[in-house]
Subunit: 95 residues, 7 copies
C-alpha cells in the first residue's frame, strides 16, 4: 500500500522518544514528551499558487524535519500512526 | 440519479469500519471510530482561481483518499449518507 | 413580481420533506429535518473576481442542488419563504 | 440636503411593515418584523478593486432590494433613519 | 501645529449635538448621543494598493461626512479631541 | 549601539507626559495617561508588497507621530523603553 | 548536526539574562524576564510570494535581533532550546 500526499501535504513518521533523548536513559511513559521531529515518508506536489502553478516543496523524502508542537493531524492507516503536515508547518530540516 | 459536485467539491463514500480494521475482528458499534478514509464517487471541476480559471483537482473518481477527522459535511441523499469534501480537505491518495 | 439575485447570489426553493423521504410515509412535523436540497429559481451574474470580471455561475435556473445544513439565509417575500445562497454554498447538482 | 454614499456603500429606505404585509391587516407594533426590503435612495461609485479601479455597482437609485436580516447600519440624519448597506449586502433586486 | 494624516487615514471634527438636533431644543448631557457626522479636517494620501500605488481618497478637506457608530479612534491633541477614521469608515458625504 | 528596524517596523520614543500637557501643571503619576504621540527614532525599509518590492514608508526619522492607544509593543533595550510600531499604526504626522 | 530553517523561518539563540542587564548585578531567577533579543543562528531562503518567488530575508546569520514578547516557538533539539521565528517576527537588528 502506497500513501501519496497531495498538494502541500507531507507525511511524517514522528521520532520515537528513545531516538531523541540524549543520555540514553529509558524514561517512563508519563515523563515522555512527543518529539517535534520526524522522518519525511513522502511529499505532495506543492502548494497551489494564485497563478494556478505549484510551489516546489522545500523538503523531500527521507529528510529529518522539525515542526511546531501542535502542527498537523495524526491519522491511523493500517494500524500505523502517520502525521500529516502542511509544508508550512515544517520549521527546519536537520542534516 | 446522478449527483454532480461543483467547483472544488468532491463526493466520498466513507469506508465502513470492517474495511479498515486490520485483524478482521468484528467490533461492537461503540468501539468503532469513523474511518478517515473513503472512496471518491465524483469530483467537481476544480477550485476557482483569482484569474477566473479553475485548478484541475488532484483526485479522480475511484481514488481511495485520506482526510482529516472533522473534514467535510455529510448529506443524506435518497437514504444514503454521502460525505462532501473540498479538494483541500484531502490529505493523501492511497494507491 | 420578479426577484433577481445579484452577484454570486442565487435563490432556491427548498424541497418539502414529502419530496425527499424515500418510502412515502407521512412524518409528523417534529420528525422532519429541513432537507438540504432545493430547486434553483434564479441565479445572479456571478462572483466578482479581483480583475473586476465575474465568474460564470456553475448552476442554472431549474437545477436541483445540494447545500450545507446551515448555508444561506431565508427571506420571506410576499408570504413565500425563499432561500438565498451564495454560489459557493452549493455542493452539487442532482441530475 | 444631499447624502452621497461613497465607495461600495448605498443608502436604502427600509420598507414600512404596511407595505410588505400581503393581506392589508394592520398589525400591532410587537407583531411586526423589520422587513428585509427597501428602496435604494442613492449608490456610491463602486467597490475598490485591487487594481485601483472600481467595480460598477449592480443596483441603481430607485431599485427595490432584498438584504440579509442583520445587514448594514442605521444612521439617523435630520430625524430620518437611513440604512447604509454595502453593495455585497444586497441579495436581490425586485422588479 | 499641523496634524497631517498618512495613508488611508483622515481626521474628523465630530459635530456637536447642537448642530445635529433638528428642533433646537437644548438636551441634557445624558440624553445626547454622539453624532455620527463630522467635518473633515484633513485627508491622507490614500490607501496603499497591492501594486504599491495609492488609491485617491473620495473625501476631501471640508466635507461633512457620515460614519458608523463605532468607527475610528479619538485622540486628544493639544486638548482638542480629534477623530481619526480610515477612508473605508466613511459611509457618505453630505452636500 | 544602533537599533535598525526592518520591514515595515519603526521605532518611536513616546513623548513624556510633561511634553503633552498644555498648561504646564505637573500631574501626579496616577493622573497621567500614556501619550499617543512620539518621536520617530528610525524607520525600516518598508512593507513587503505581493510583488516582492517594498513600499516606501511615509514617515521618516525625527517625525513627531500620532498612533492608536494600543498600537505596537514596548521593548526595553539597554534600560531604555522603545516603542516598536508598524507603519500602518501611524495615524498622522505633526508638523 | 546542522539545523537548516526553511522558508521564512529563522533560528535564534535567545540572549541569556546576564547578557542583557546593564549594571552587571546577578538577579535571582524569579526576577528575570525572558529577553526579547537573540543571536541569529541560521536563516531560511525567504517568504514565498504569490508569484512563487521568495523574498530575500532581511536578517542574516550572526545578527543580533529584537522580537516581540510572544513571538515564535521554542523547540528543544539535542537538549538545547532553540527559538524558531518567522522573519516577520523580527522587529529590528542591533548593530
Amino acid at each position: 500500500m502506497n500513501v501519496v500526499p497531495i498538494g502541500d501535504n507531507l507525511i511524517v513518521k514522528r521520532l520515537t522518544v528513545a531516538e531523541t533523548t540524549a543520555g540514553g536513559i529509558v524514561l517512563p511513559d508519563a515523563a515522555r514528551e512527543k518529539p517535534q521531529q520526524g522522518r519525511v515518508l513522502s511529499v505532495g506536489d506543492g502548494k497551489l499558487l494564485p497563478s494556478g502553478k505549484r510551489s516546489a516543496p522545500e523538503v523531500k523524502e527521507g529528510d529529518r524535519v522539525v515542526f511546531g508542537s501542535y502542527a498537523g493531524s495524526e491519522v491511523a492507516i493500517d494500524g500505523e500512526s502517520l502525521l500529516f503536515l502542511r509544508t508550512s508547518d515544517v520549521l527546519a530540516i536537520i542534516r
